[in-house]
């Protein structure tokens, strides 16, 4: 594909992510931390986020399946997830985590379950979107171009 076309696509995609609230300015901050010394900083951080989040989501799922739900522990985990997502700038996930925490404090199981579903859903979306964005970036790099900011 044409390099300029690819770059245009990337810019549009990113802009749309911001517009639709998937990412917030924290993500921009992350990108600004990437330079020639840390060329893959964003990718690495995001990968770590994926790992972390998946682990946490699994644990949350497991915890909610238990008979006795350890809300405190869940709260801590959601807190972690919230921290991670806010560090990345995964805006929607972060917002959901806040809601999740409220439910945890209220010890509302249904609410938690519902929230968990939503979080998983959102996480899935953001993961896909970020992955496709990275793919685009890789394509651009392969074509010999540079990633537009």
């Amino acid at each position: 594909m044409d390099l300029v076309h690819l770059q245009r696509q990337l810019v549009d995609y990113r802009t749309s992510l911001y517009h639709e609230g998937f990412l917030d300015e924290q993500f921009t901050q992350l990108q600004s931390l990437q330079d020639e010394n840390n060329p893959d900083f964003v990718v690495e951080v995001v990968s770590l986020f994926f790992e972390d989040s998946e682990r946490l989501l699994n644990e949350l799922s497991k915890a909610l399946e238990q008979q006795i739900i350890d809300f405190k522990r869940m709260d801590a985990q959601v807190h972690q997830l919230k921290g991670s997502s806010s560090s990345i700038g995964a805006h929607r996930v972060q917002k959901l985590c806040i809601v999740f925490r409220n439910y945890c404090e209220a010890q509302n199981v249904e609410g938690c379950l519902k929230c968990l579903q939503q979080v998983k859903h959102e996480y899935g979306i953001i993961k896909t979107k970020l992955e496709s964005m990275f793919q685009l970036e890789q394509q651009i790099l392969n074509a010999g171009g540079s990633i537009p900011v």
Partner: protein, 740 residues
């Protein structure tokens, strides 16, 4: 008879003979007595006579002879013996003296004769000296005349005056009847009567030069007597009487080119004038030698004076010419200055007046591009933007070119990333190339340094121009860009004999070769390529755009960079290769290129605000820990990461200046850690600053932090700028609590 002692003479006394003897003796005695008296008288008169005693002797001789003759008078009659004895004594004495005198005369007379010879000799000598005096006087006279003549001749530098004066003065000095000068004509085949003494305006009377008499005169540097019937001598109307003698002498005409220092006395010229001098007719005057010499000398002087006059004329003419030229040059210079000023004014006006609207067009078009547009509208806006960019480039180009020609353009030297330049060019050219379906490949040699010192912007402009041209003039195929460090042999074999590269330690020559498979260029057109505004019309691509300035500007940039640029092509349709060599500097400190993302001590560029600041980050959340770490690394800090409080307490040391703790994690007693750290480091200056990172925006957290002994609090999320300013504040004031 008595005998008497008287002596009787032989003869009777009354004899007539005796009488006559008596009288003669008497007169002889008289004469003999008077001669010495006369002698004495005259000797007394003259003072010079050296032989006095000779005279005395002579006088004595004469007196005695006189006495003898006197006494003889008495012997004619009977005389006594006494008389006879007196007579005898007298005769004896006389005899003695006579003999002595005779003997002496033998000695004296040669002397007297020699005196005479000497006198004759001296007289001859005097006559000779007189003659010589006469000669010298004549010569001096001649010399005086010559000097006067020369003075007259040399006192003027005007040719005509010189010649006229010569004739006049000669005429006067030598009392000539007529004096004439024959000059050779331009063709050199004839002699023309140019000046005469008596006639005011000589008619242009010519005589062929190859006359035997004339040749004779020309062949010798003496004055030669010629016949009055000779054509050159027929100056006066025919007279009845004998014409005077005529003399002719050659006058060499020297040219400027004859003045060689080494052979000055030789007259290597072939041109002579003829001077003819005529003595007055009817006089019996002849030409004297000294007069001839005078004429010769005058002829020489005239030659010299004429040549001086010629030189002066020449130099005056040259000076006049130079003055004229100076005036013309001055005028031309002023005109050129006016033209340059006009051009500069025009450019300044154009620069400003044209750039302002251009700026507006470009800015507003790009803004328009950002808004919502239909595809057709977008296309239109893009075209507008592209065209206006082109126009802006054109304006810049023209301005640049004029500045380049003035010599006022200077390179902005700086250290830059060479690889980035090529990548950028590639990025910029790939869209167009892919539209034309051209394949562009970039090959950077491994020994090419990554960083170089030079004018990045202009180098990129040049390379872009060349690559752009390659793309523009290729309809299909591929374009290859190769860049490598030029070695000495490759430098030398370039087709530029005047390009003399000099290798030095802190410079290298970058060689870029752009080869395309396009329409190629006729080798004959190649020299014209780099001249301004010359478009290659033969390719027929009139719509290729551009003003023809690009390559001219490139060439000038390359020249500024002490390099060389040229294009090789085998002909139309065979593609062409553009080769560019520029001199770039090697940066002193080779900056490390891509460092792996390792938390060692990386040399951050630009953003190093806190180089090497040792910080500790405690955060349980891996992701946020990574983000914070990235933030701090970007600022140049040396970051240690810990994930738990125990680890934190274990690793914290006095080397860490700041400890960032995420306190919003439940389960971590951040305040406890704070207290423990306080205990660990008793001295205040050893203790690191403790900063809390939290997402909680309530005052309680802040109060708790303060009470626990923390030095700072920052709200998450932390941006780069915020972190930078926080650290600055923190390190300066040792406390920073973000306003909540």
């Amino acid at each position: 008879m008595e005998s008497c002692n008287c002596i009787e003479p032989q003869w009777p006394p009354d004899d007539l003979l005796m009488k006559y003897q008596y009288i003669s003796d008497f007169f002889i005695a008289l004469a003999y007595f008077s001669i010495p008296l006369e002698l004495i008288y005259f000797v007394k008169k003259s003072a010079v006579f050296p032989y006095r005693w000779v005279l005395v002797q002579f006088g004595a001789f004469i007196v005695l002879c006189g006495a003898t003759h006197l006494i003889n008078l008495w012997t004619f009659t009977v005389h006594s013996r006494t008389v006879a004895s007196v007579m005898t004594t007298a005769k004896v004495l006389t005899a003695a003296v006579s003999c002595i005198t005779a003997l002496m005369l033998v000695h004296i007379i040669p002397d007297l004769l020699s005196v005479k010879t000497r006198e004759l000799f001296l007289k001859n000598k005097a006559a000779e000296l007189d003659r010589e005096m006469g000669l010298i006087r004549t010569q001096e006279e001649t010399g005086r005349h010559v000097r006067m003549l020369t003075h007259e001749i040399r006192s003027t530098l005007d040719r005509h005056t010189i010649l006229k004066t010569t004739l006049v003065e000669l005429g006067r000095t030598l009392a000539l009847e007529e004096c004439a000068l024959w000059m050779p004509t331009r063709t050199g085949l004839e002699l023309q009567l140019s000046y005469t003494l008596r006639q005011q305006n000589p008619v242009g009377y010519t005589v062929p030069i190859h006359h035997p008499v004339i040749n004779q005169v020309f062949s010798s540097n003496r004055a030669v007597k010629i016949s009055p019937n000779c054509p050159v001598a027929r100056l006066r109307p025919a007279r009845k009487y004998m014409p005077g003698e005529v003399v002719a002498v050659r006058v060499p005409l020297l040219h400027l080119s004859n003045f060689h220092i080494n052979d000055w006395p030789e007259l290597s010229t072939k041109r002579y004038a003829l001077m003819v001098l005529m003595l007055p007719s009817d006089s019996a005057r002849q030409w004297h030698v000294h007069e001839l010499e005078l004429v010769e000398v005058v002829a020489d002087q005239v030659a010299v004076a004429l040549s001086h006059a010629a030189i002066l004329e020449e130099s005056m003419r040259a000076r006049d010419l130079l003055m004229e030229q100076n005036v013309a040059l001055d005028l031309a210079r002023r005109e050129a200055e006016t033209a340059i000023r006009a051009r500069n004014d025009f450019l300044a006006v154009m620069n400003h007046e044209m750039r302002t609207p251009m700026h507006a067009i470009i800015a507003l078009s790009s803004l328009l591009q950002e808004t919502e547009l239909t595809p057709e509208q977008r296309l239109m806006v893009e075209t507008i933007l592209k065209s206006s960019n082109l126009l802006a480039t054109l304006i810049n180009d023209v301005l640049d070119l004029s500045r380049l020609e003035d010599g006022s353009l200077q390179l902005d030297l700086g250290t830059f990333n060479l690889y980035a330049v090529f990548r950028e060019v590639l990025n910029l050219i790939k869209p167009i190339a892919s539209v034309k379906k051209l394949h562009v490949s970039l090959n950077l040699a491994p020994d090419l340094p990554e960083y170089a010192v030079g004018d990045e912007k202009r180098l990129m402009q040049t390379i872009l121009n060349i690559v752009g041209n390659a793309v523009k003039f290729s309809k299909e195929g591929s374009i290859s860009i190769r860049a490598f460090v030029a070695k000495l042999d490759t430098l030398r074999d370039s087709k530029a004999p005047e390009f003399l590269p000099v290798l030095s330690d802190n410079h290298f020559y970058l060689r870029v070769q752009v080869k395309d498979s396009g329409s190629g260029i006729n080798p004959l057109d190649i020299p014209k390529l780099f001249t301004k505004f010359a478009q290659n019309q033969s390719t027929g691509t009139r719509n290729s755009g551009g003003s023809g300035l690009g390559l001219a500007i490139c060439k000038r940039f390359v020249n500024l960079m002490e390099g060389h640029i040229w294009i090789e092509s085998e002909g139309l349709g065979k593609g062409c290769t553009a080769i560019l060599i520029v001199k770039l500097g090697i940066p002193e400190r080779v900056n490390e290129s891509k460092l792996p993302y390792m938390p060692k001590m990386p040399a951050n560029h630009g953003q190093t605000a806190f180089p090497g600041l040792k910080v500790l980050v405690m955060d349980e959340n891996g992701v946020s820990r990574m983000v914070t770490k990235g933030l701090l690394l970007h600022l140049g800090c040396n970051v240690t990461m810990v994930g738990s409080s125990d680890e934190c307490l274990r690793l914290v040391s006095h080397e860490h200046k700041v400890v960032f703790m995420d306190i919003c994690v439940p389960g971590i007693d951040s305040y406890g850690i704070t207290i423990r750290i306080h205990e660990k480091f008793t001295k205040r200056h050893e203790r690191p600053l403790l900063v809390a990172l939290t997402g909680n925006t309530d005052k309680v957290t802040k109060e708790n932090c303060m009470r626990a002994g923390m030095d700072g609090l920052i709200l998450k999320p932390v941006s780069l700028d915020k972190m930078r300013s926080v650290l600055t504040d923190l390190l300066e004031h040792r406390v920073f609590f973000e306003a909540i």
